[in-house]
Symmetry: C2
Subunit: 198 residues, 2 copies
């Protein structure tokens, strides 16, 4: 596979964007660099957008992914979102759980018709109560992904216990780490048995 024209879209929220990383790589840039070092000819497209929920992403993902993955390439898509769904605004979840689950089912079911697809679960932030909700949502996402036959990597437990991730999140805006935290998340993806670029 290493000599093929590999192209990947990472689609999700601010964690995908790499918000607050002063090196402007985030975990997406770091896993791309690692794949290249192993010899893969990988073109990487970062389609993370701050504040976006699963509903936002379900609406936009295909119109942004489709022009980036022409039929001439070997195409990959990674989804990663959920933390904005579990945010409370005026006492209400931004997206109710049943809708989040339906959004994931919809995007995974559609994407797997055209692309190699994987999903990375939402990470932990500095709010223990939100982390409980996000943990539950991540578990539900994993079940949907399993039903759809899409590999899913849960990261919330590892990151909640990761001193580097959590200390950078707390030192920052309460949600996003800095460079070292993103490197920890990248390492989880790179170590994942279902990851494509070993």
């Amino acid at each position: 596979m290493k000599d093929q024209d590999l192209r990947i879209c990472f689609i999700g929220d601010s964690y995908v964007n790499g918000t607050s990383d002063p090196e402007y790589l985030g975990w997406v840039g770091r896993v791309s660099v690692a794949a290249r070092r192993k010899g893969y000819s990988l073109t990487s497209y970062n389609l993370g957008v701050r504040r976006e929920t699963s509903t936002d992403i379900a609406k936009r993902w295909y119109q942004e992914v489709q022009p980036r993955l022409p039929s001439s390439c070997k195409p990959f898509v990674v989804f990663s979102f959920g933390a904005n769904d579990t945010t409370l605004e005026n006492g209400h979840l931004r997206v109710v759980e049943s809708q989040s689950v339906e959004n994931v089912r919809e995007v995974l079911h559609a994407a797997k018709q055209f692309y190699s697809v994987a999903m990375i679960g939402p990470p932990a932030n500095a709010d223990p109560e939100q982390n409980l909700r996000t943990h539950k949502l991540s578990h539900l996402f994993a079940k949907v992904a399993k039903n759809e036959g899409v590999p899913f990597l849960s990261v919330i437990d590892q990151l909640a216990e990761d001193e580097i991730w959590m200390s950078e999140v707390r030192a920052g805006d309460g949600a996003h780490p800095s460079a070292a935290g993103y490197a920890r998340l990248a390492a989880l993806v790179e170590a994942w048995s279902s990851w494509w670029f070993h």
Copy 2:
């Protein structure tokens, strides 16, 4: 401005994407890192897509930029494209010059209504004949940008004479440099008097 929520979209072609950079930064990542080092709180969105012409970009730019630049932020947009317009396919230009010029006028005129806008001209590649066409197109783009009151940075002459840029382009696929070449282009942008993040 340094304490404001600054967000920028770079929209263009493979040079914007940073194709072939093993560090997955390109010039876009490098100018973002430099802005952060100077103290700007900058969220950076890379919307470069390989093979895209001015016609492709005129079609998609707004639907991709709009969700990334909410009214709560101070928004910036950088356009950079043109080299794919001057490529010959079956003896024909992919986009004829008059259409390229009209595309630029359209996107700059629309974008400046909403955002702080700048344009970076197309760079040189390893094909001297194409570089002549791209040079002329860059000159026409500069005139359009001036008429629209949008700052325009021409880079083709400097890059065509830049040993690092040209040697990496020739050692690669004939179009894209590696990390050091992209760093050279980033330096031109950072040194530009109209650049926002000094």
